[in-house]
């Protein structure tokens, strides 16, 4: 079992930590160097965390658990109008990104109103490609409840809803979790109180993702998503020249590869692991709804009978 961790510390000698994690069988997912500081997002085997902790103390860095690491989150706004953007939606997306998640913003075509809101089939499928959907709704209790009754139809992933009133999750139909004190805010979230609300949102999403992890652990994937990422990086040279942010985005039980499906899907399907199996035996390589990208979903152990 791998634990998502974040290391923040000086750039000096940080490569020692990277090597340690890789030697332990963990994965470095993202490395950001900002002047003399480095932020590492990584997956560490749960039993070896104390060793990594000792090393990070030695380097005078800080090691924290970052439950959002390795997940792809959709932040959904009713539309892409001034009512919702740029504040709040972007703030939420950016904040979750800082916590280690990859966020994609989705603006619905007809998501407005409590009676007239709709979700198109395309939007539904696109949102379902993520790990969690965060719906950013407005100010009024009645509207949030009415809207929730039908807007999330067909969405199979956990749904986190935000809004102004303090409601209990049970009161919001179809929602996995609800976070209050947001609402339609038209300024940059920077006051201490607002930042605390964002912290709470990150916490709630972390909890939701942990539940997903527990669920996945019951029937673990045949191949760990970071392993898929590593194999693609090693086998497909063109990924180096890919200019998309995070060309291979990790998800809870798969990855999204930001390369054209038609050109690369066969190459990816035929990647051979050292264990002797090919990618198509342990994962499904699908066309993504997002542009012409590739979506890879790892097959569960119950389907293949083995895990590597």
């Amino acid at each position: 079992m791998l634990e998502p961790m974040m290391y923040v510390g000086g750039a000096y000698k940080h490569s020692q930590l990277i090597e340690l994690v890789e030697d332990l069988g963990g994965y470095i997912l993202q490395k950001n160097i900002m002047q003399s500081e480095v932020v590492l997002l990584m997956l560490v085997p749960i039993n070896d965390i104390p060793i990594v902790e000792i090393k990070s103390k030695e380097l005078l860095g800080k090691l924290t658990r970052a439950p959002l690491t390795g997940s792809e989150i959709a932040t959904v706004a009713p539309t892409l109008a001034y009512h919702h953007l740029p504040h709040l939606d972007c703030d939420v997306a950016e904040f979750l990104r800082k916590q280690g998640a990859k966020t994609n913003m989705v603006g619905l075509a007809r998501g407005v109103g409590k009676r007239i809101c709709q979700l198109t089939a395309f939007e539904r499928d696109l949102i379902n490609e993520h790990d969690v959907a965060v719906f950013i709704l407005g100010n009024y209790e009645h509207c949030i409840i009415e809207k929730s009754k039908k807007l999330y139809e067909g969405i199979e992933i956990p749904i986190v809803v935000t809004g102004a009133p303090e409601l209990r999750t049970e009161d919001v139909p179809n929602a996995t979790a609800y976070v209050g004190s947001f609402g339609r805010i038209l300024h940059h979230l920077r006051h201490a109180e607002e930042l605390r609300t964002l912290d709470k949102l990150a916490q709630v999403i972390g909890k939701v993702l942990d539940d997903v992890r527990v669920e996945i652990a019951k029937d673990p994937p045949s191949v760990a998503p970071p392993r898929i990422k590593k194999e693609i990086e090693e086998n497909i040279a063109e990924i180096v020249d890919n200019l998309h942010p995070l060309p291979i985005t990790l998800q809870m039980n798969g990855v999204r590869v930001k390369m054209p499906y038609e050109e690369y899907h066969e190459q990816i399907e035929n990647i051979k692991f050292v264990e002797g199996v090919t990618m198509k035996e342990v994962a499904r390589v699908l066309p993504s709804k997002m542009r012409n990208f590739i979506l890879i979903k790892a097959l569960p152990k119950s389907e293949t009978g083995f895990s590597i």
Binding site: P78, T79, A81, Y82, H83, V112, G113, K114, R115, I116, C117, G138, N139, Y140, E141, H142, C143, A164, P165, E166, G183, R184, I185, L186, H187
Partner: protein, 200 residues
């Protein structure tokens, strides 16, 4: 007169009223409109659903014409030209832009900082040029106001709307469903109450 002498957001949903209030303040300050609105009252009922926005306006200076800041005369004798002698340079850039758009750059000369020559028939155009509007502060403010109310403040789902707009007041009634006559009447009533406060 003070800005925002009355600012009331009425809503059965207390949290909703609080956030609506803050979002209106944010929008007004974003578009620098807080000085424009004298009294403002909003009524919102999410259950009905209806959103009424009524405000009394304090628009600033009226529109500015060329004659307000320059002398417009015939040009040199025997030539088809109009001479504009500028007294306040503040509006020169806007004036030049207007003239360029109207006559083309080749027909506008500026031999001196404060003198603009327009190559056109003076008999025909002189009076028109004197009255040419160079800046319309009121119109600009009203445009921004409509942007604020219709595109930012009123909830997006409320697409059925009826509005009144004059230089002294603005009234918006919006809903997701067909507008009911009693909502329109309520809008008028709110506007009247604001007027009574103003006159008291």
């Amino acid at each position: 007169m003070e800005q925002l002498e009355t600012f009331i957001v009425e809503c059965p949903d207390a949290t909703g009223a609080k956030t609506t209030r803050s979002l209106i303040l944010d929008t007004l300050s974003d578009l620098s409109l807080s000085r424009v609105i004298g009294r403002l009252k909003v009524y919102m009922d999410p259950v009905e659903p209806v959103f009424i926005f009524a405000a009394l306006l304090r628009l600033g200076s009226p529109s500015i014409k060329i004659k307000d800041f320059a002398r417009v005369d015939m040009g040199a004798l025997g030539k088809d030209e109009v001479k504009i002698e500028i007294e306040k340079e503040m509006f020169t850039i806007k004036l030049l832009n207007k003239l360029w758009a109207k006559y083309g750059k080749e027909n506008i000369e500026q031999p001196d900082r404060k003198i603009i020559i327009v190559k056109t028939d003076p008999i025909k155009d002189l009076d028109m040029l004197r009255e040419l509007v160079v800046e319309e502060p009121q119109q600009e403010v009203l445009d921004r106001l409509i942007d604020a109310i219709a595109l930012r403040i009123i909830p997006e789902g409320f697409r059925v709307r009826k509005h009144e707009l004059s230089s002294t007041h603005v009234l918006f009634v919006a809903s997701e469903d067909t507008l009911k006559p009693e909502w329109l009447a309520k809008g008028q009533e709110i506007l009247e109450s604001l007027r009574r406060e103003e006159n008291a």
